[in-house]
């Protein structure tokens, strides 16, 4: 089937929307993104398919991830006229219970995450809510009543977990490709660019550059132009791009198509990191389907506009997320950045004008085009509009992906949605912006998230990683961790970055191993500011950020390491030891059983002792003890 007009789309959309909302029998959606699979979703899916093969009255489908990764594997069950229920932690063994629960309408709270109130996406409001006439289940919360989903508005993640990512029809069924096909028929490129500019959309990949301005300047330069998608997602701890690619690859393609049409480009590239094999697989299948539907290739939707997309995989180099390095890598070279006297919008890939945007940036585009710039810019802060996806990870109860309007406070995200810190431990800091970002302490929890807001406190938005840390994270060790990361990732072509990072790392290693001395903190500050000023690319200029912000906000921890030779968090091994707290130990013996060194001894119900000679500080006892009787000294 080739799409030639909006009418063609409408036909498919109606048919598949019906199937999505009102299935014939019972429909079961198993969340099969990488995170779900890691939690056991594949076994769940396989068992479900074995028990209910194709053609059965119970239809088994796979979807992407609805974000609440903590509770995965997630399985949603729906049937015409019945509520849509999301079940949590459905490992393979729980599947029979879950099926029975839905069929017999027991709806046990223990198994259920929540019920849906309204499955429509932000672009579907002219359709009625399919659940309008369905009686909700009493005593089971709606998803939006669960704190984790409370502040969320899903634009980039609008289809993740709702559709089968391998089905272009289901994407169209939820309003997909309408923006692009309408634009193709009705809009001039200036109008598209004006809309994106007016919406205030800024790049979601790191720098936050205004997307419309980038498109406009790329269009101005003559030559063969390229539209490139940055799916390198190098920031460890951030995985929203993976989730979009795995859960809704067509939203990115549609965004790229709109960009290509606006800019005047016929060739696109998606640079995906090699560590995301499933994302690559789903992209390959999406490209193929889009070609079959006449939405990619020559003469798209019967017009004279043509656009081809090639997928290239990276090979594990963080620096290749940087625009010029990425383009060098796309050309099949070593990914070394170059100075940007001439911007990539003028001379980038193959020396042609090249527009590079991030996955999430592209995924926002179709929605903006359908709902208008004003709708989009009504959300957010003065200079940061729309929503942003954050990956809420680390020491936080509810981990997962959250998409919130810009301007939501860190406290709302971490403590309301994230549920705070597990095990009654204390919040220490949140790290945003990845290796280029910084650590934000408790004092700034009421900060509204936005590009400039985060920069003001010494961190940055980056790609949206939000790593929560508690009292058990050592900030000096964390700073060392980031520099160690960056030392390995520096491409090595300029001295401040290559040598400077190494020197700073040496000083930090000394501090962590008990060889810190007076003047080290000042030395770190001095080197840091030098590296910031004189490095060639963004990797170098931002490399000192994690060190400088931790010095700024946690200087006392540095001082404890240097002067008292103590690591208060119990991370730097030479600087602490574990002891048994006589008052707290109940003699439950659990730690003694788990200790790989047999360093803990004692009779049941009596005080246990720890042999310092044998202890390797692996921390197993510290994590296992329910009574906090193992303490850091």
């Amino acid at each position: 089937m080739r799409i030639l007009s909006v009418k063609d789309l409408e036909k498919i959309s109606e048919e598949f929307n019906e199937k999505l909302s009102f299935p014939q029998g019972v429909k079961v959606n198993v969340g099969m993104a990488s995170c779900g699979i890691a939690a056991g979703a594949r076994a769940t899916l396989e068992r479900a398919l074995k028990e209910h093969p194709a053609g059965d009255s119970i239809e088994i489908r796979q979807t992407g991830c609805i974000g609440f990764c903590e509770e995965e594997p997630l399985v949603e069950i729906l049937a015409k006229g019945k509520p849509r229920v999301v079940y949590k932690r459905v490992t393979e063994d729980k599947l029979p219970d879950v099926f029975q629960d839905y069929m017999e309408e027991t709806f046990s709270k223990k198994l259920i995450l929540g019920q849906m109130r309204d499955p429509r996406s932000v672009i579907e409001e002219d359709r009625p809510n399919p659940l309008e006439k369905v009686n909700p289940i009493k005593g089971i919360p709606f998803l939006d009543e669960i704190p984790f989903y409370a502040h969320q508005i899903k634009i980039a993640l609008r289809n993740c977990g709702y559709i089968d990512p391998d089905s272009i029809e289901e994407y169209i069924g939820r309003g997909g490709y309408f923006a692009f096909v309408r634009i193709l028929a009705e809009m001039k490129h200036e109008e598209i660019i004006a809309t994106i500019k007016k919406s205030g959309l800024r790049g979601r990949g790191g720098g936050g550059f205004p997307t419309g301005i980038k498109w406009e300047s790329c269009r101005k330069h003559p030559g063969e132009r390229y539209v490139i998608c940055n799916a390198d997602e190098g920031d460890p701890g951030a995985y929203m791009d993976r989730s979009v690619l795995e859960g809704d690859p067509h939203s990115v393609l549609e965004g790229m198509l709109i960009a290509a049409y606006a800019i005047g480009s016929s060739q696109g590239f998606i640079y995906v990191r090699n560590e995301y094999p499933l994302a690559v697989k789903r992209l390959v299948s999406a490209l193929k389907q889009a070609e079959d539907f006449g939405l990619l290739g020559d003469n798209i939707a019967g017009s004279d506009f043509g656009f081809h997309v090639k997928i290239s995989t990276g090979a594990g180099a963080f620096v290749c997320g940087e625009s010029t390095a990425l383009m060098a890598s796309l050309e099949g070279n070593v990914g070394r950045p170059r100075a940007k006297y001439v911007h990539t919008v003028e001379k980038g890939f193959r020396d042609g004008p090249s527009n590079l945007n991030n996955v999430e940036t592209y995924a926002n585009v179709p929605v903006i085009m359908l709902k208008g710039a004003d709708w989009f810019s009504s959300m957010g802060t003065k200079y940061s509009k729309g929503t942003k996806v954050f990956s809420l990870v680390g020491k936080v109860k509810n981990t997962g992906l959250v998409e919130v309007p810009m301007g939501t406070t860190l406290r709302e995200i971490i403590f309301e949605m994230g549920g705070g810190i597990p095990k009654k431990r204390k919040f220490k800091a949140v790290q945003t912006g990845g290796p280029s970002g910084g650590c934000i302490p408790e004092a700034f929890l009421d900060l509204q998230v936005g590009y400039d807001e985060l920069t003001k406190v010494g961190s940055m938005m980056g790609s949206g990683g939000m790593i929560v840390m508690d009292q058990g994270t050592c900030m000096v060790d964390l700073a060392r961790y980031f520099l160690d990361f960056l030392k390995g990732e520096s491409c090595g072509q300029c001295t401040p970055c290559r040598e400077g990072i190494k020197q700073m790392l040496d000083v930090l290693t000394d501090i962590c191993e008990g060889r810190g001395k007076e003047g080290d903190i000042e030395l770190l500050e001095e080197m840091g500011s030098m590296i910031q000023k004189f490095s060639l690319c963004g990797l170098g200029t931002s490399a000192p950020n994690p060190v400088l912000t931790t010095i700024l906000y946690f200087r006392d921890e540095y001082e404890a390491h240097i002067y008292d030779k103590k690591c208060p968090a119990g991370v730097c091994k030479p600087l602490f030891h574990y002891e048994v707290d006589e008052k707290a130990c109940t003699g439950c013996h659990v730690c003694a059983l788990k200790c790989p060194q047999q360093a803990i001894t004692g009779e049941k119900k009596k005080l246990h002792t720890l042999d310092q000679e044998k202890c390797i500080k692996c921390g197993i006892c510290y994590d296992t003890c329910k009574f906090d009787a193992i303490v850091v000294k």
């Binding site: 990488s34 995170c35 890691a38 939690a39 990764c69 903590e70 995965e72 997602e233 190098g234 920031d235 460890p236 701890g237 951030a238 995985y239 993976r242 989730s243 090699n274 560590e275 995301y276 290239s312 995989t313 990276g314 090979a315 594990g316 180099a317 890598s329 796309l330 050309e331 099949g332 070279n333 070593v334 990914g335 990956s391 809420l392 990870v393 680390g394 020491k395 981990t399 997962g400 992906l401 790290q431 990845g434 290796p435 990683g465 790593i467 929560v468 840390m469 964390l478 961790y481 980031f482 990361f485 390995g488 491409c491 788990k594 790989p596 692996c618 921390g619 197993i620 994590d623 296992t624």
Partner: protein, 165 residues
């Protein structure tokens, strides 16, 4: 890094040129821009990149060997040394780091008597690390071959490794 050579991958003479041609010409059209993906294809086949493959790649694509060598050593995923039957990849990304990935890695090192980057003497395991595989919400995560083990604590390491030979 000190990697123990193991006799599990084909020795250089056994390089299958028909297959090499298939990767270079058929799949990637002998296009220089696809060099990185060609190397990935070769690594996918041999588990590492045998040196003669680099020379052959140079011959076929016309790119100087020095440059191909540069690429193969610049990018972290490429290994010029043979690897064990099972590849253990510990995620040392930030989210996993704050949840104790280092301790999991140390536990693996202790149990297998190898350090990061090495292969066990019997060729059964190679230990490597990666900076994030995108399952950060379930950290610490360890990937063994294609399986991702989530929320792995140091005391579960031994039992997990037992499942691989």
């Amino acid at each position: 890094m000190n990697k123990e050579p193991v006799a599990i991958a084909p020795s250089p003479e056994e390089l299958d040129y028909v297959e090499m041609d298939k990767i270079i010409e058929e799949t990637y059209g002998s296009d220089k821009e696809n060099l990185i993906m060609m190397l990935q294809g070769i690594q996918g086949r041999y588990n590492y990149i045998p040196r003669p493959a680099l020379a052959y790649l140079a011959e076929k694509t016309g790119v100087p060997l020095s440059r191909i060598y540069g690429i193969a050593t610049f990018y972290a995923t490429f290994s010029l040394e043979p690897r064990g039957r099972n590849l253990i990849t510990v995620c040392l990304g930030t989210a996993c780091h704050v949840r104790g990935a280092k301790r999991v890695q140390e536990q693996i090192e202790q149990l297998l008597h190898i350090s990061n980057g090495q292969t066990t003497e019997d060729g059964s395991f190679t230990l490597e690390s990666v900076r994030c595989i995108g399952c950060c919400s379930l950290g610490p995560v360890v990937k063994i071959n294609e399986d991702v083990h989530a929320r792995l604590s140091p005391d579960q390491v031994a039992k997990t490794l037992e499942r691989y030979e």
